[in-house]
Symmetry: C2
């Protein structure tokens, strides 16, 4: 990632979505991959994998306030192809998005899947990660930690509900509602603290987060809150709004943007210790 | 491919490009994958692989008469990443196309790469494979067989020129010039005969091809012409024009569309024997 992302030819890979003018509108495009054994558990239901592949890409569009216009699939054939198709159809139907095209290949070894999502920005310019200013409030559209509990249920065969991990829901309606007001917005894919740090870096601010204001699922043990702020896959939207502006949809005010300090995030007045979350290679 | 392509959720995968209205223009999108050991030789220079990944996707745009507006890359990290970046930058510069974004992953086993190309149709509607009518002439923009010779040079370490295989050139300018006149158009990626058969099937015609009119590279031994019509990777454009219409760029008239017969292609008056070319899984 680093070598590619820092090369002039590949500068665009550092960001989640690209926005380009097309025919007088703003076309939002994103491409995310999933790899067997990295992004899904071996033996996992491929219908869930297909759903997640669609949902995570649409989540990138949601963070731009974009409405999806279609997806392209890069698919490596293998086990459970019928299940994959079933999950793909379920996701496309659930989110009202057409499959525009793609490619299928055969390969040995761990499979990799790619999805490109295309969207139309409903507000221009679409929000980026870079627009937060000191004084802006930091908001989160919903709880973090449910996907972590879902992953653990699946991994441990505990029988507990794992839907939050398997079948995430992109916050498309919320993204469209928030885009006209948000000074910065992104989806929480890798973890609340690390994604907040990325927004802080892009905006050159520091976020002071009040952990007592962060929403968690009701069944999260209190001692797991530390982990839940460092786990991804919940796909809530993280955004900043100017002071005095209330969000047009349910959201939780979890902190404040301050002038930049050495640390991009401060939690309960202190620099968080240890890792902020999951970092993709 | 078959299972996915015949499923309603994946109907679009059967075609090369998708065309959608966006902001009053026609957005053309395509996604192609390349897999190590399938689409490139183990040990091949990754700069060439990057070039080909870009070129083959842009060739799909060329067949629609579209001008490229950008690409998204799905990249599996591995050996020779710097060479890949070099070839990627060379191709993007040569064709004047920006890298809009993408994703990188780490994975074990054979690597797979995906590229999404976005273009703007310069003529509407863009040509498809389905528009040929009996009486139309069948045209080809250049010789077939050079990539085959290039592949063999590379495979056999003969020292002969392999550039046609390693560094194909999408016929973007030709595609734009031809799009207003072509009744059907596609790029020859899998082989002249099999791609002509696909166009014939889509258009419900039969193409009568005169092999003496098919252009071949000067260094192709005459006994290899049979193979050259069945080998892909040359990325010339194959198109039909109404009778009496001359192409606005250099091209060769190689046949004629006739009312449909059981065989989609007839070569020198006979149904071709054996395989028509390479069929992707």
């Amino acid at each position: 990632m680093r070598a590619l992302a820092t090369h002039p030819a590949a500068r665009g890979l550092a960001d989640d979505c690209a926005v380009l003018d097309f025919g007088g509108e703003a076309l939002v495009v994103t491409h995310d991959m999933m790899v067997e054994g990295v992004h899904w558990l071996p033996g996992q239901d491929m219908a869930d994998v297909a759903w997640k592949l669609v949902a995570t890409n649409l989540s990138d569009l949601a963070a731009k306030g974009a409405e999806p216009v279609g997806v392209l699939l890069g698919f490596t054939l293998g086990d459970q192809d019928e299940r994959f198709i079933t999950g793909l159809a379920e996701a496309l139907t659930a989110f009202g998005v057409p499959l525009l095209g793609g490619d299928t290949v055969s390969a040995n070894g761990p499979r990799s899947l790619g999805l490109t999502a295309l969207g139309r920005a409903t507000h221009r310019p679409p929000p980026s990660r870079a627009g937060a200013s000191p004084g802006d409030n930091l908001w989160l559209t919903g709880p973090v930690g449910a996907a972590m509990l879902g992953f653990e249920a699946l991994r441990d065969h505990s029988g507990a509900n794992s839907a939050a991990f398997r079948r995430p829901i992109p916050r498309l309606a919320q993204g469209r509602a928030l885009a006209p007001f948000a000074t910065a917005m992104m989806d929480v894919s890798d973890g609340l603290l690390i994604d907040a740090a990325r927004m802080a870096d892009a905006s050159n601010v520091t976020f002071a987060i009040d952990s007592a204001a962060v929403p968690f699922p009701a069944n999260l043990p209190p001692e797991r809150r530390h982990d839940a702020m460092r786990w991804g896959d919940d796909y809530e939207l993280l955004l900043t709004l100017p002071p005095g502006i209330a969000p047009p949809c349910p959201a939780f005010c979890i902190g404040l943007a301050k002038p930049r300090t050495p640390s991009p995030v401060i939690v309960d007045g202190a620099v968080p210790q240890g890792s902020l979350g999951y970092t993709h290679s």
